[in-house]
């Protein structure tokens, strides 16, 4: 396993995409934080708004920047092996396939968590600088939820590309399901004839996952608008983690069995 980790550490350091994906995640998150801080700098400090800025507005986007970009990093972690045929030299160097997959997940988690923590710190700093005043750091629960959220997206990307053995297929699922499919199901659940969908809506994986980055409770507002309230932070996180785990288990088993 340590050989596989050494291999993955070199792999992730020696492609440019690692740097631009992490860089872009930090930049875009910071832009949200700066915009929010500048817009509200004359108002009294609102802890919830500060938390929205520090988490890069993740709660209110179907495709939160850091999550998507670390998700793409995950797609590349496994997808490049098939895209460029490096799966053969990789497995010739590390014939125990599970060790290779496990090492990829560890490295994606470390880079993802690193990017998330760095993003939180950067967003807090730019918020302070933009407001010109020190603001309190959001609750530990919010910060932890954000890191877990970003790491799960990274793992999902890696699992999808390992399952499809191609990058475009994994990206389509990673982007289209949260952006198109889940919002569509949520909207359809508002049609009286299809109200049975309302039981499903809280368990839609990406929507449930967003509970991890909840900083403002919009449950009442959602219900008032006829929608279904989301699950709690950790219950929603568990649903998302379950979905990620299912895709990962399927892809892992297939990777063990398939021809490389």
């Amino acid at each position: 396993m340590s050989d596989a980790l050494a291999f993955e550490a070199v792999r992730v350091r020696t492609i440019r995409s690692t740097y631009w994906l992490v860089g872009l995640a930090l930049l875009l998150g910071a832009l949200v934080a700066v915009a929010l801080a500048l817009a509200t700098r004359d108002e009294p400090v609102d802890a919830a708004l500060v938390a929205v800025g520090v988490t890069g507005g993740s709660q209110f986007s179907p495709l939160p920047f850091a999550a998507v970009l670390v998700g793409i990093l995950g797609v590349f972690a496994t997808g490049h092996e098939f895209r460029h045929g490096t799966v053969q030299p990789s497995l010739l160097a590390l014939p125990r396939r599970s060790a290779l997959v496990a090492a990829k997940l560890v490295v994606v988690a470390l880079v993802g968590a690193g990017a998330a923590v760095a993003g939180l710190a950067l967003n807090w700093v730019v918020t302070v600088v933009s407001r010109g005043a020190v603001v309190s750091v959001p609750d530990g629960e919010i910060l932890l939820g954000y890191v877990v959220f970003v790491v799960l997206w990274g793992w999902l990307g890696a699992a999808l590309a390992l399952l499809f053995r191609n990058i475009p297929g994994a990206l389509v699922v990673l982007l289209v399901v949260p952006l198109v499919v889940e919002p569509l199901i949520s909207a359809l659940s508002l049609v009286p004839a299809m109200d049975w969908l309302r039981d499903i809506v809280p368990y839609l994986p990406f929507s449930a996952g967003t509970s991890l980055v909840t900083v403002v409770d919009v449950g009442e507002a959602t219900e008032a608008a006829g929608g279904t309230a989301a699950l709690g932070r950790w219950a929603g996180g568990l649903v998302f983690a379950g979905a990620v785990g299912a895709v990962l288990a399927a892809s892992w088993v297939l990777f063990e069995r398939r021809d490389a």
Binding site: T14, R16, G85
Partner: protein, 306 residues
């Protein structure tokens, strides 16, 4: 020493490799020969546990997947262009080296050995097939292995490159290493290999020294020109020889040597204009051995225009 036993690979109803068994000895270069589509690459992937199928291959008694840090014992390259286009050749090798506890000094050593030192830091995106083959060979040699498994390593090399590769493989074999190298070109194999494993349609056709293979599958024939060709053909046929008439009127005689043909002609007073012994080339031996086992065969257009 490589021992492959009962290697089998099916794709649905199609059998790509069919109960294939062979041995590869150390100290010589063993060529793995077969027409395109014969199953050479699939066989090599089965050997290296990359493909899932039947049978097993042991490298000095162990399966590939059971060898810890396998690149230190078995060096293999299957696809020439198996690298990320923007990761430098040196970084590509450093990555593989890290997986097998190999130091960076060895990376620079193999880069120099294959002649890629000057381009090792740049993007390999623009590498020619020949340069890619050299990088592949560098990967295989990285762990200074005692066994090499190379799939079509000469593909894309220029004549100088092929000669260089032959010298490298011969010298590695001379050091007592096991070298197993595939090709679909017999002439290339004849220059490189001492022993052959020949397959067609996934089945073993022959294995042993190159010269034995050539002897077994080549038929020495006699070319005869005579103004009385048809009479001579009848006489030869009566004598038990096989006779083919060529379009220019000359005869190709099998089953009788030049002396026997000459004596027969003399005894019947048949005039000969030419009497030549022909030994089939290596390519002809290959075609004769694998002719029935060729996977993809185009339709000959000779004479069909009429």
């Amino acid at each position: 020493m490589i021992t492959a036993v009962g290697l089998t690979k099916r794709y649905g109803p199609k059998v790509a490799v069919d109960d294939l068994s062979f041995e590869v000895r150390p100290g010589v270069v063993t060529g793995f020969l077969g027409p395109n589509g014969a199953g050479k690459s699939t066989t090599m992937r089965l050997m290296l546990d990359l493909h899932r199928g039947g049978g097993e291959t042991r490298f000095d008694g162990r399966r590939y997947r059971d060898v810890p840090r396998p690149m230190r014992e078995i060096g293999a390259v299957l696809e020439a262009k198996a690298f990320h286009p923007t990761r430098s050749a040196r970084n590509h090798l450093l990555m593989l080296a890290a997986a097998n506890g190999i130091g960076s000094a060895r990376v620079d050593e193999v880069l120099a050995l294959v002649g890629l030192s000057d381009v090792a830091g740049g993007r390999p995106k623009g590498f020619s097939l020949g340069m890619s083959q050299r990088l592949g060979l560098a990967c295989a040699l990285l762990g200074d292995p005692h066994t090499l498994v190379l799939d079509e390593p000469a593909n894309g090399l220029d004549p100088h490159g092929i000669q260089w590769l032959r010298d490298v493989l011969k010298s590695l074999a001379a050091q007592g290493r096991t070298v197993f190298v595939s090709s679909h070109l017999l002439a290339e194999m004849a220059q490189m290999a001492d022993e052959l494993v020949v397959i067609g349609r996934g089945r073993l056709i022959d294995s042993g020294p190159v010269s034995d293979f050539v002897g077994r599958f080549t038929r020495t024939t006699v070319l005869v020109r005579s103004p009385e060709a048809s009479r001579l053909a009848d006489l030869l046929a009566d004598d038990g020889a096989t006779v083919d008439s060529l379009s220019d009127g000359s005869l190709v005689v099998g089953g009788a040597d030049a002396a026997a043909v000459g004596e027969l002609a003399a005894s019947y007073g048949v005039v000969l204009h030419q009497l030549v012994t022909r030994t089939a080339s290596l390519e002809e031996a290959f075609l004769s051995a694998t002719g029935a086992a060729e996977e993809y065969r185009g339709v000959s257009t000779h004479g069909s225009a009429a």
